[in-house]
Symmetry: C2
Subunit: 329 residues, 2 copies
């Protein structure tokens, strides 16, 4: 669902020189040596728009890098380095130290050196700008426009938790579970919050799968919207079997409408959606096991256009949940 | 003069792997192929902090790329590509079109392809985040820590205009000249405004001078402060002859104190300050002529520490003007 802010990007889509991949994929790519491309991506995160003002500084440091590493993961690139721009309305030493700890912890885990950036005072709230660089063999880059009719559609991890946590924190979903036997520990928010605030970018998985995948995207804007980008770029359609979707177990207590919305349309999900030929099923299952990340086959790429999702009874869900209502856009 | 916001950056200065140059220079560098390094830099520009809310969109598009290209220029790197993150409080099509025109006009001039980025809605004012990439021969990168005792100190262009324009627009300096013979065309603001809002990054100059230069920096935080960074990184001192400083001619009508402040401490100057051996004088003069940019020898690197500036009578100016009062920091 294009917002007016998607329209802005149209002004910045002039052609790029041969050998470069411009906007419209998870990363921009350019050739840096024979057989080697640099993949790069940047995200600008603003307080109140992309995160709550009271979010923990450690998890914010983690997430501001994670959302960018997720773009590298979706291309199959290996992280090399990153830059950080940080604008703060005031200087709170312990806050900055915690932010740095969260940022470096994830950077170290992925061998992604923080090599530069800038800090400044902001007039209004926190602004965080991260740029990541990765390297990739051009023949293996997982582009959005490479899905083929007959491909299986796969998704990593479990879906829906980030949307639920967001809606509880934003006050639009009530957490009825907090009086449970285990108190807060067992609350719906406690079970889902890490997915929202501390996502694990699927970097290792993306690199391992790159040689076996046609198209891929990270579903940060929600499964339907981001899979839609693959379909549009590839000129194909898709059919999803709703019974196969890997729903986060905490969502069992929600109404069907809330669950469907969270799984199909909920954003801020740093999982990968990939398409691959049927003969890659063994490779996907093996690599998922080795990476310790569930990989679930949820449907197929079909000829034509459009995206259909079947419910438990094999009926088309209509209308599909829409409206990614998270921080973005 | 370190502000508390310079202190923030200390939290992000953990060591970087061998083969990479981390924060603390105009660009970060990392090896991408034998004999080739990628130079990269990013700046985060916020409304009210780095530019006035009513600035023209075309010049803002220009400047948001120019300040980043200036960092490439100061390393001697050749621009390759850039990313743009743009957060706007509302969508004004003609504003975005003008911003894009200003951005692309400068990008095209320097062969710097815009290959990606993101756009989003902001709650508070405009935020612009640009990342640039350039390439450079590692043996020619102009680093801050390479100044040598006996080096000449050079500066490109003319100094002081951006500070004057900023202070007139901010209301802290009165423009008495607007009643002159030529009306507004001849006003002090009219003569100085382009230096503030539409600076020309010295990319060609930096690339041509790289083979002849020891250390370089762009003086976006002001001549004294940025030359101070070279001195500190190189473990040397400097003596500047105030009579040699290339003062913008519009400053002739200012008081000596205002002029000194603008030339020595005024920021938002996208000129280069470079140090080079005495036997490079002919090369500097020739390259300056070929590039059409004045290059002026303003002093020398000396043993020891500290920075002295001599006035017209050959006396040390004490105290030196301080306090970069522009948008930054």
């Amino acid at each position: 669902m294009a917002s007016e802010f998607d329209l802005i990007s149209r002004f910045f889509k002039r052609p790029v020189p041969a050998g470069m991949l411009g906007g419209g994929d998870d990363c921009a790519l350019f050739r840096i040596a024979p057989g080697l491309e640099l993949a790069t991506s940047k995200d600008l995160l603003l307080e109140g728009r992309h995160f709550f003002p009271d979010v923990d500084a450690f998890t914010l440091g983690h997430k501001s890098l994670a959302v960018n590493l997720s773009d590298l993961a979706a291309m199959g690139a290996k992280p090399i380095a990153c830059l950080l721009g940080l604008a703060l309305p005031s200087f709170d030493e312990s806050w900055v130290a915690r932010f740095a700890d969260g940022f470096y912890a994830l950077a170290d885990q992925h061998g992604c050196a923080l090599i530069g950036g800038d800090t400044t005072r902001s007039e209004h709230g926190i602004a965080i700008s991260v740029t990541v660089f990765g390297e990739i063999n051009p023949t293996q880059a997982m582009r959005r426009n490479a899905a083929k009719v007959g491909d299986d559609i796969w998704v990593s991890g479990q879906l829906g938790a980030a949307d639920v946590a967001y809606r509880i924190l934003a006050g639009s979903l009530k957490d009825d579970s907090s009086q449970g036997l285990f108190g807060l520990e067992g609350s719906l928010l406690a079970q889902t919050r890490a997915s929202l605030e501390c996502p694990n970018p699927r970097v290792f998985l993306g690199r391992r799968l790159a040689a076996h995948t046609h198209a891929a995207i990270d579903i940060s804007d929600g499964l339907l919207q981001d899979l839609g980008h693959i379909l549009q770029a590839s000129g194909v359609g898709a059919r999803i079997d709703g019974r196969l979707l890997p729903v986060h177990p905490a969502l069992a207590q929600l109404s069907q409408a809330d669950r469907r919305h969270a799984v199909l349309a909920g954003g801020d999900v740093y999982e990968l959606c990939l398409t691959a030929a049927e003969d890659q099923r063994d490779n996907f299952e093996r690599i998922g096991l080795e990476a310790g990340v569930p990989l679930t086959r949820i449907g197929q790429i079909i000829a034509g256009t459009g995206l259909r999702v079947m419910d438990d009874a094999g009926q088309c869900i209509e209308p599909l949940p829409q409206g990614f209502d998270h921080f973005r856009k």
